[in-house]
């Protein structure tokens, strides 16, 4: 206990976040037998959304730039990762390894997309940046909706707009434009999701607590002051943005491999906003908050099924109430007093 107390506050919070995730994983594993199929079916999507929220929190909370196209990176990760998994089916028969490789490939492709988009986008700031990211998210969606990619004995073939891949008889059309990908082998497991969440936390915490992270936060707090002391703004913005995109890509692969079919329209503007809601609800820069918010808001619509047709209305109302409650000075004050009283009691 003392050892924990002696650590500095950030490290302690980070370890508590790791601990909470491990604990949640352990509890769910213990209860696995008695969980409803409904909740069991949501475990992997929850992990994917948690990673999405964490990665967006890096852009929005740590870097301080509003991104409205985050689902675009998830989409790139989903499609490239699943394509890789299908192409590597014979080369790597061992499923967990194939999933890992696919997630890596998904992350790399999403990272590249993040880099390319980041170069023009990060020259802007504030509202302008938000709108441009939104546009890029839509561009990614349109491109994938018109992309045809197939695999046969001669290798990969791809075409845009219409299917001109001209595959051999035994060829396999992997991405079929608006049809997306069908017949995906469902490799994602809750354990894989848990590992990805832990890895994302590890990457984000270490990035934030490094020299680079402090530079990123300096850019967020005052870019002119940061520039005047010699911080290369574009470079640090890009580092944060690309890391965020790559993590989103890995989450996209995890998400896509949990279903047999995936279409680009799934990752639209609404999906981006949903992830932003997780981040805002959990608190900007607060990773633990993002995890809780993502998990709770993924379960919530399902838990509200008994409201039937009014489900999404109730969901919206709950969302408003939670937002109001977490931002209410009276409630915040109550928690602060509670903390104060505890501290007082501990000192006595």
């Amino acid at each position: 206990m003392n050892a924990i107390k002696n650590l500095n506050k950030t490290t302690r919070n980070n370890f508590l976040t790791y601990g909470a995730v491990v604990l949640a994983y352990a509890v769910v594993q213990l209860l696995m037998g008695s969980l409803s199929s409904s909740l069991k079916g949501m475990l992997v999507p929850i992990c994917a959304y948690v990673v999405m929220a964490l990665s967006l929190n890096l852009t929005v909370g740590v870097l301080g730039e509003l991104s409205l196209g985050h689902a675009g990176f998830m989409s790139v990760g989903a499609f490239s990762g699943v394509t890789a998994a299908m192409a590597l089916q014979e080369l790597i028969p061992f499923a967990p390894l194939r999933l890992t490789v696919s997630m890596l490939i998904g992350a790399v492709f999403a990272g590249i997309a993040g880099f390319l988009i980041g170069i023009p986008v990060l020259r802007l700031n504030g509202d302008y940046l938000a709108i441009v990211t939104l546009a890029f998210g839509e561009i990614i969606k349109s491109i994938i909706n018109n992309l045809y990619l197939g695999l046969d004995g001669k290798g990969l073939h791809f075409s845009l707009l219409t299917d001109r891949t001209a595959l051999d008889e035994d060829g396999l059309l992997i991405i079929g434009g608006p049809m997306g990908i069908g017949g995906i082998q469902r490799l994602s497991t809750f354990t894989a999701g848990f590992v990805l969440v832990m890895l994302s936390l590890f990457i984000i915490f270490n990035l934030v607590n490094s020299r680079t992270g402090r530079a990123i936060m300096a850019v967020r707090d005052n870019s002119i002051a940061a520039e005047s002391i010699g911080i290369n703004i574009t470079k640090y913005k890009l580092i944060a943005f690309v890391t965020s995109a790559a993590l989103a890509g890995a989450a996209g692969t995890l998400f896509a491999m949990n279903y047999t079919t995936i279409v680009a329209n799934k990752f639209d503007f609404n999906a981006s906003i949903l992830i932003l809601v997780f981040v805002v609800l959990g608190g900007l820069g607060n990773m633990f908050g993002s995890i809780v918010a993502a998990a709770a808001l993924t379960i919530l619509p399902e838990a509200l099924r008994e409201f039937d047709d009014y489900r999404m209305l109730v969901y919206a109302i709950v969302l408003i109430l939670v937002m109001l409650a977490t931002n209410n000075p009276a409630i915040q004050g109550f928690f602060a007093r509670l903390r104060g009283a505890r501290k007082g009691a501990a000192e006595q």
């Binding site: 949501m42 049809m179 799934k266 998990a295 008994e306 047709d309």
Partner: protein, 407 residues
């Protein structure tokens, strides 16, 4: 420190509490499944622990909210009428429950799992294609037999031995439309407007153009639209008009189709319009001036104006209960429930059987029986082992705000 622990505990408690809600019963149409409410059923196994013993539990997912809600609601209503009729007859009893999937594969899987927790023994699959692709795999793995009223993509049944369809497949619709247009010489110059980010639209478009080329129909204009730019069709319509198209083929759902009709009207372009089963429902759309749809033709397996006794009774009952003319989705779902009834009777199945046993019984029944339904013609409805249905389509035309048979 303590506060954090408190937070974590509360979060876990909340999460588990929510899961308990999710595992219990939702507001269902049948309303009589209170006996198995409460947290997730112990033991993890689905149907076996939850069988009520009196009725077969029939579940389905469909878009009850959102853009495609008309289809889901129609299917649910159609199935509900059939279930009410069958339950009133005595003999086989059904308990029906539909869950919302908002036309999204992810939510469809969630909805399917809710139904599985409920103890679903027989499934009506999903109403729309992409969600059905995602849930049919679960049907296959869990050995819960599925008969989908309207998920028309081939991938729904491909590789799954226990998933069957009540509707035509998309490719089937495209080819049949081309044949119909050619047989009846409805048009010499054809324009197609289709939605290039939609499986349904693309599937029909591709087979239509392929079959049209074989039948030597001339396609003079082939234009597309996508999600997000589906409000203004002046470019596509101008293209069709400039190329003197006298028939415009619209393989799409009725919402964009209604806009196309009104925009064509405002540019005083009046070709023949030909749609497929997605066009069904256009008359029921709120705020749509039905006079615009006058003369629109569509190919659908169901004719609400039929003089057939059962169809007329179904239409009357549907109108009385839901205040609108049933479309093909409602009719397909109605037939689905009767197909289940027939198969269960033939196999003398009882409601206390497990979903695995019912699944294998249904698989033998469905490939051997012939159903007299309201969506087929006199020859009846049969199924191939692939799960595809075999029945003949009907050409319909909209006259005076109602669907009338073309033949």
């Amino acid at each position: 420190m303590k506060k954090k622990l408190l937070c974590i505990t509360l979060t876990l408690a909340l999460a588990l509490g929510l899961s308990a809600c999710g595992g219990g019963n939702g507001g269902n149409a049948g309303g009589n499944n209170g006996g198995n409410a409460g947290g997730g059923n112990a033991g993890g196994s689905n149907a076996d622990g939850n069988i009520s013993g009196a009725a077969f539990k029939l579940g389905g997912t469909g878009p009850l909210t959102g853009g495609a809600a008309t289809y889901g609601i129609a299917a649910r209503n159609g199935a509900q009428i059939a279930v009410d009729e069958i339950n009133a007859m005595g003999g086989i009893q059904f308990e029906l429950r539909y869950e919302d999937d908002a036309h999204d594969p992810e939510k469809a899987v969630n909805a399917y799992n809710v139904l599985k927790d409920w103890g679903m023994q027989l499934s009506l699959g999903s109403v729309t294609s992409k969600p059905a692709e995602a849930t049919s795999v679960m049907n296959m793995e869990d050995r819960i037999f599925a008969l989908t009223p309207s998920a028309s993509s081939e991938a729904t049944t491909q590789g799954k031995d226990n998933v069957f369809q009540m509707c035509f497949t998309d490719p089937g619709q495209g080819a049949k439309s081309a044949e119909y247009i050619s047989d009846k010489s409805l048009g010499s110059k054809i324009a197609i407007i289709w939605k290039n980010d939609d499986v349904y639209s693309k599937g029909i478009h591709d087979t239509f153009t392929a079959r049209a080329a074989e039948l030597q129909l001339e396609i003079v204009s082939d234009t597309t639209f996508a999600d997000g730019n589906d409000k203004d069709f002046s470019v596509q319509l101008t293209n069709a008009k400039d190329n003197d198209a006298d028939l415009v083929f619209l393989p799409m759902y009725y919402e964009p189709a209604s806009l196309i009709l009104s925009q064509a009207n405002s540019m005083s372009y009046a070709p023949k319009f030909f749609g497929v089963d997605g066009m069904d429902g256009i008359l029921a759309q709120p705020g749509f001036d039905t006079s615009l749809a006058e003369g629109v033709m569509l190919l659908t397996p169901f004719n609400a104006d039929s003089t057939d006794e059962r169809t007329a009774a179904f239409v009357a009952k549907y109108q009385q209960q839901f205040n609108e003319i049933p479309n093909q989705f409602a009719a397909d779902a109605y037939d689905c429930v009767y197909a289940f009834k027939m198969a269960l009777e033939n196999a003398s199945a009882t409601p206390d059987m497990s979903n695995e046993d019912l699944c294998s019984l249904m698989m033998t029944q469905f490939t051997s029986m012939t159903l007299e339904g309201i969506t087929g013609d006199g020859a009846g409805i049969t199924w191939e082992t692939s799960g595809a249905v075999s029945k003949s389509p009907k050409g319909m035309v909209i006259q005076n705000g109602a669907y009338v048979g073309l033949d």
